[in-house]
């Protein structure tokens, strides 16, 4: 509510970024004052002042590239629950309520459990990992995420012998995700809720990060608050956001993008410069903030760590 950038009406009204940023500081102060005043706080939506998170940098799991500017990483997003445009998530993200929030972990496990988000965050030590993120649309970013390995959580619920895949489900709530409401003629971009999945060995890989923050703070709504997955060697859409359920299953999950366009988005979707998207090349990418394209690396530069997961597989067939 309060802190959103004012809508632009005419060019003469476009505010100098310096001005609105200082205004933003002022407003976050005002919002804090509101929260302190109980009578007003009930009337006000939670202000997007992001709480800092204490985490230890895990250098062994971090790239040394310069991190993308936080302004870019929080305003240039694909999060179809808010809309298909890159600025929809940051414009409309305020409708998502990341608290209270629970994550159900169940399926083929010995100890299924519904975790409260605040309890979940405290279960394991938080790490900061700088990963590169490659979008299937041929752009990339470098983001310092905060979280812990998904493997830690999965081990706690004890997957049994029938568990072969892990399915992630994003919140389904058209009141919080405006684009989940059917549009013209019942037109909807994807079949909600958003479902993603990993093979169990991919999910247990130490690089797979259950993520609750970025840039030293809790996740902004537009980046998948309050909890998301980050799988850095796969195209970005594999990393489900705003997760409410993690289910261990025996069959390969049918993912949202596979349903929408099976010829374009496969279950594996490992970053692979040698396999084109049917409509465009994946050989190179534009790193956000850079001018020239740079070559895309196999498995997004994580080949040493993850290539062995796919030994003997034809990656052209299992794209």
């Amino acid at each position: 509510m309060l802190i959103r950038r004012a809508p632009r009406f005419t060019e003469s009204q476009i505010t100098d970024p310096k001005l609105y940023l200082s205004r933003r500081e002022l407003m976050s102060g005002a919002a804090a004052a509101l929260v302190l005043s109980p009578s007003l706080a009930s009337a006000a939506a939670p202000a997007p002042v992001l709480a800092p998170l204490v985490a230890t940098r895990n250098a062994a799991f971090s790239v040394t590239d310069t991190a993308t500017k936080v302004e870019a990483a929080t305003t240039y997003n694909n999060f179809y629950e808010f809309g298909v445009n890159k600025d929809d998530p940051s414009r409309l993200g305020h409708t998502l309520r990341p608290r209270p929030w629970t994550v159900r972990v169940d399926g083929f496990v010995n100890k299924p459990k519904t975790f409260d988000i605040d309890e979940l965050i405290k279960l394991f030590p938080l790490e900061e990992r700088v990963y590169s993120l490659r979008c299937v649309e041929a752009w990339s970013m470098v983001i310092p995420w905060v979280g812990f390995p998904l493997a830690s959580l999965l081990k706690r619920v004890e997957p049994n012998g029938q568990a072969k895949f892990v399915e992630f489900t994003t919140l389904l709530d058209p009141n919080q995700f405006p684009a989940q409401k059917p549009g013209f003629f019942g037109f909807s971009s994807l079949d909600w809720p958003y479902v993603e999945g990993l093979r169990l060995d991919e999910a247990l890989h130490p690089l797979t990060l259950l993520t609750v923050g970025m840039y030293g703070k809790v996740l902004p709504n537009q980046n998948g608050a309050p909890i998301r997955i980050v799988v850095p060697w796969k195209y970005g859409f594999k990393s489900a956001k705003s997760i409410v359920r993690i289910r261990l299953v025996g069959e390969q999950p049918k993912t949202a993008w596979e349903k929408a366009a099976p010829a374009e988005y496969g279950f594996f979707s490992n970053v692979n410069p040698a396999v084109s998207h049917p409509r465009w090349s994946q050989a190179d990418e534009r790193r956000i903030g850079e001018f020239r394209r740079r070559p895309t690396l196999p498995f997004n530069g994580y080949a040493d760590q993850v290539a062995s997961l796919y030994t003997g597989m034809d990656l052209k067939k299992f794209y």
Binding site: E11, I14, D16, P17, K69, E71, A72, A73, T75, Y76, Y80, V84, K86, D87, E137, W139, G183, F184, F187, S188, S189, L190, W257, A260, A261, S276, R279, W280, S281, R286, I288, G289, F291, R292, R293
Partner: protein
């Protein structure tokens, strides 16, 4: 329409057609093109190419449906502005997006259907821009010139397909352009059909009169 009215109309068209470019320049100057400026510029220029091209194709339907003749005087100007925007769109692709990486661009033109058809749209606009002067109309003859300029339909269809084929799932804008194009071309088809029918009736009438005279 008076001469003053016509001039005022053209000034408005110039203003409307240059405004998107001015806004783009203004935003570039203020470093306000978003996180992916090259993509933003390319998309904006592509959008305005299609909008102005469709506007140029709306002038004839305005006469057919509403009997207005003055919009026709704006058709050439709009067509040239569409060509201007498509040239900018293409230049950005060459210079900013691929930085003169000719082999890579050629590979995309050949391999990627949305780029192939986009190129087709651009190429089909070139002869139209080249023959847009009154002198060229005279040199070609009105009939040939009119025939050549039906390429505008090809350009618009290819341009809309270009956008439809590149847009990702869930993006609706290309379908609005497609709807507009179908309406604009549909009005013409309807008009051609009506005229053909009238000609046939006229021919039939002449034929029966001739028979009457013979008997």
């Amino acid at each position: 329409m008076t001469r003053r009215g016509r001039v005022a109309l053209k000034v408005v068209v110039w203003g409307v057609c240059l405004a998107p470019l001015a806004l783009l320049a203004y935003r570039a100057w203020n470093d306000d093109l978003g996180a992916n400026p090259i993509s933003f510029i390319t998309n904006t220029l592509g959008d305005w190419t299609l909008r102005i091209l469709l506007a140029s194709l709306a002038m004839t339907p305005l006469r057919i449906v509403f009997g207005l003749s003055w919009p026709i005087t704006l058709r050439r100007l709009l067509g040239l502005f569409a060509f201007f925007y498509v040239c900018l769109h293409f230049s950005v692709w060459i210079v900013l997006d691929f930085f003169f990486d000719w082999p890579r661009m050629w590979a995309d033109i050949v391999k990627r259907p949305y780029i192939t058809i986009g190129m087709a749209a651009l190429v089909s606009l070139i002869p139209l821009a080249a023959t847009s002067t009154t002198g060229m109309i005279r040199r070609l003859g009105a009939r040939n010139w009119t025939r050549l300029h039906r390429l505008a339909y090809v350009a618009a269809v290819c341009g809309v397909l270009h956008y439809t084929w590149l847009a990702k799932v869930g993006v609706k804008d290309p379908y609005w352009y497609a709807t507009a194009l179908v309406i604009l071309l549909g009005v013409r088809v309807w008009e051609w059909g009506r005229r053909a029918m009238r000609r046939r009736h006229a021919a039939a009438a002449v034929g029966s009169r001739a028979e009457n005279q013979l008997s």
